[in-house]
């Protein structure tokens, strides 16, 4: 569009051609933008992974204080809201399932529906999305502000690596916190399903547990939980990358934060879909 305005076309034919080509140009440019973003992110991932490995091999390079702080902020402080959301989502899911399945007289299957989707998908997805919104945005804005204030330059002028100091501790903290949060979301979700089962299906606790025992396999639990560290990795890297990309102006911090959250939630959901495909191919 901008080029068309900048150079007014000499005649109608040219302007027609320009208006025909412009959409392609726009699409092409944004596609190039996407590819260059992916390239950047890959490079950043490589750098951060190398730093992560180095830190794991040489534990004296692990910044325990920093990791603990982020574990507390991203893990412990997220606990109440994760529990509440998991409880709420499970109960809503159960209610909707029960009201449909009752029509066919198979209301007991509501438990299958709710519990299996909770363990395989819902718990880890809800937790990851919440963590992306909560901690991901904090990562991007904290690192962005540090970049803006020149604190990142200070680190580099001390001969230190900013990725190692700022991104790796956050990455490690999320890698630990997200599986734990997912696990608690699983447990609370199961409790929520029990409450609904008592209320809607009139079953007792032993009956509910027996039902769980019949339908659940450890596999379902692991299928959900295995995704948690992968999502943690995605969130920490995408948000850290956005934060490190901030330069010059304060509004960039806001933009970076927004983009960090949107991109990491997008990545989490896409990867989840990919996992579903993989698992169905593998017959899990």
């Amino acid at each position: 569009m901008a080029t068309a305005e900048a150079k007014p076309a000499p005649n109608r034919l040219v302007s027609l051609f320009v208006s025909f080509v412009t959409p392609f140009e726009t699409v092409g440019r944004s596609l190039c933008g996407v590819f260059s973003y992916i390239y950047d992110l890959m490079a950043f991932t490589g750098r951060a992974s190398a730093r992560l490995l180095a830190a794991l091999v040489m534990p004296q390079r692990l910044r325990i204080a920093s990791i603990t702080r982020h574990l507390y902020e991203s893990g412990w402080q997220a606990m109440p809201i994760v529990l509440l959301l998991s409880l709420g989502t499970t109960m809503v899911l159960f209610y909707q399932g029960a009201s449909q399945l009752q029509k066919y007289g198979v209301d007991l299957f509501t438990i299958n529906l709710t519990v299996i989707s909770l363990l395989r998908e819902m718990a880890v997805l809800i937790t990851s999305i919440l963590v992306a919104g909560r901690s991901g945005s904090a990562f991007a804005s904290e690192i962005g502000v540090m970049k803006l204030r020149g604190e990142v330059d200070v680190l580099r002028s001390m001969g230190l690596d900013a990725v190692e100091i700022l991104v790796v501790p956050r990455l490690i903290a999320l890698l630990i916190a997200l599986p734990l949060l997912t696990f608690t979301a699983d447990i609370v979700g199961l409790a929520g399903a029990y409450v609904m089962a008592v209320w809607q299906l009139d079953i007792s606790l032993p009956q509910y547990l027996q039902r769980l025992h019949d339908i659940l396999t450890p596999q379902m639990f692991y299928v959900g939980l295995i995704k948690a560290p992968v999502f943690a990795f995605l969130i920490a890297l995408i948000c850290g990358h956005q934060g490190m990309g901030v330069d010059a102006s304060a509004e960039k911090v806001g933009q970076a934060t927004t983009r960090a959250v949107v991109l990491s939630i997008f990545a989490v959901i896409m990867t989840d879909a990919l996992f579903s495909l993989l698992f169905s191919w593998a017959g899990i």
Binding site: M146, G150, E151, D153, V154, R156, S157, M158, G159, L160
Partner: protein, 256 residues
């Protein structure tokens, strides 16, 4: 011939099509205080970043204590930058850490010493820059401009560097505080055997503490002593050194 601690040759920096530095040569001798001046936007900070190994020049070579900061592996990089202290514009203290932790940061990063040893060193260097002990537990947001700079200076000095870079240390300070800060830098550079590169707008600082002055004019760097600068016929230098403010300063000097 004095030993050069920084030696930069043929430095060219471009941003897009705009050239900021055009084959610039600048060096810092051991033990001297070199003032780097130039109009706003003339690329003083960019040149500083280039010398510091933070921004690779488009052309030219930088030697920092005899090493090229752009061609170092991680271990050498860590070793080299322990010998350099930087006070960035506005201090750039780590906002999440207290003054004590800020100053202790490089020590904890590089020297795995006992907490008591680190504490001793931190309080020693805080005293050197003229900060009270109770400042140590404060956070950067609770400090005044002068204190922030002193704390950042303490952080820059804590590893006992050989070169000190200062980016507009007296910028927003009031004249009295700025004078104090100049005195501090002068005495530190003598006592600690520092070579100092200082970016400043403050003519007082230039006159008072700088051994030589490097001025960025028309993408080039001109170097000389203060009297060289005053005699130079270049229009940019004339404007800078014979402006109203400078003349006042000169008159004042003559009067006293």
């Amino acid at each position: 011939m004095a030993q050069k601690v920084i030696d930069a040759q043929n430095i060219t920096n471009r941003f897009g099509t705009k050239t900021v530095h055009d084959h610039v040569e600048i060096h810092l001798n051991k033990g001297e205080i070199l003032g780097l001046v130039g109009g706003s936007g003339s690329g003083k900070s960019v040149l500083l970043r280039t010398l510091l190994g933070l921004k690779q020049p488009d052309e030219g070579t930088v030697e920092l204590l005899g090493r090229n900061p752009y061609a170092l592996n991680e271990r050498d990089r860590r070793a080299l930058f322990q010998r350099i202290g930087v006070l960035f514009q506005d201090g750039a203290l780590f906002s999440g850490l207290s003054v004590f932790d800020n100053v202790a940061f490089p020590l904890r990063e590089y020297r795995h010493e006992k907490a008591s040893v680190i504490e001793l060193r931190v309080y020693e260097v805080l005293e050197q820059v003229g900060l009270e002990k109770d400042v140590a537990q404060k956070f950067p947001s609770e400090l005044s401009g002068g204190m922030t700079r002193r704390a950042a200076l303490a952080r820059a000095l804590v590893m006992q560097p050989e070169i000190l870079f200062l980016d507009e240390p007296t910028g927003p300070l009031d004249p009295v505080a700025a004078d104090d800060f100049d005195e501090l830098i002068l005495s530190l550079s003598k006592n600690l055997d520092l070579s100092v590169l200082i970016i400043t707008h403050d003519l007082n600082s230039l006159v008072k503490i700088c051994t030589r002055i490097a001025m960025i004019v028309d993408k080039r760097v001109l170097v000389g002593t203060l009297s060289d600068m005053l005699e130079n016929k270049n229009a940019g230098i004339q404007a800078f050194f014979h402006g109203e403010r400078m003349n006042k300063l000169q008159l004042h000097k003559k009067a006293t």
